[in-house]
């Protein structure tokens, strides 16, 4: 009798059988994606304004001037933070767009992997470039 009662309750559950078997409830990650998207957005307010303001005054700089600016410890630190927050924020945003509009399972998975791999690659390349400038002076 107890089993029959459980079964009845289970059938009235809002979750589908497939959803229950896969076990992919929101408890697996909760609000992490949502929260990270907002926290990177907050970090990007000052960082992106700093970056754009700097670029506005550097439209015709030569290599030596660019290296002088990029090679300072302050620029290294801020650019590192900017790149990480920017790429993290972009990957999270593109992930949502892909999940919303791409419905083929394989295509979706491949695109998500491509976006994340590109994010890691671009972040690594940007930071290595900054380190080369700081250490070797470009």
């Amino acid at each position: 009798m107890a089993d029959a009662g459980n079964k009845n309750r289970a059938n009235k559950s809002l979750r589908s059988d497939l959803g229950r078997v896969r076990g992919l409830g929101s408890a697996k990650e909760g609000v992490h994606h949502w929260w990270a998207q907002r926290m990177t957005a907050l970090a990007l307010i000052p960082l992106s304004l700093w970056f754009v303001a700097a670029l506005v005054f550097m439209t015709d700089v030569d290599h030596a001037t660019a290296i002088w600016w990029l090679g300072s410890p302050l620029t290294l630190g801020l650019m590192g933070l900017f790149l990480i927050a920017l790429i993290y924020h972009a990957v999270l945003g593109l992930q949502v767009v892909i999940e919303d509009y791409i419905h083929g399972h394989a295509t979706k998975l491949i695109l998500l992997l491509l976006v994340q791999a590109s994010g890691f690659a671009l972040g690594a390349a940007g930071i290595v470039a900054m380190l080369i400038i700081v250490i070797y002076g470009g």
Partner: protein
């Protein structure tokens, strides 16, 4: 378990375009476009690290008509996404959901984004001695 056909929401093309819906779509489009700008930014940093020849080449690409057009569009997308992002953060904090407020903040974002984009470019040309 067989599921009954459930009501689905009408898709974009059946709605009359409104400021609020257009701005929501624009937020996504500018986000995607700005993501492409990350490639340009990292490319520019790599060119600076690779030496004067590469950097001069990168600066010439950035200064070309196509480069300037892209940079102008990126500037506009940046200020729009930044300001509308602040609007989104205010919504997340529970502020500004009333329809008149949403329209007022919406127009503010549109106008401020245009003003800041033009200001940034005027400052940029002024800084290099164009006038």
């Amino acid at each position: 378990m067989a599921s009954r056909p459930r009501p689905i929401s009408p898709h974009l093309q059946v709605y009359r375009p409104q400021l609020t819906s257009i701005m929501s779509i624009l937020h996504r489009l500018t986000g995607i476009f700005l993501s492409l700008g990350v490639v340009a930014l990292v490319g520019w940093l790599m060119a600076a690290a690779a030496g004067p020849a590469w950097f001069t080449c990168a600066q010439q690409v950035a200064g070309s008509i196509i480069g300037r057009t892209l940079l102008f569009l990126w500037t506009g997308a940046f200020f729009y996404h930044l300001l509308n992002g602040l609007r989104h953060l205010a919504w997340d904090a529970g502020w500004g959901f009333e329809i008149p407020t949403a329209y007022r903040t919406g127009w503010t974002v549109m106008i401020l984004a245009a003003v800041m984009t033009v200001t940034a470019w005027v400052l940029g040309y002024w800084a290099r001695g164009a006038f």
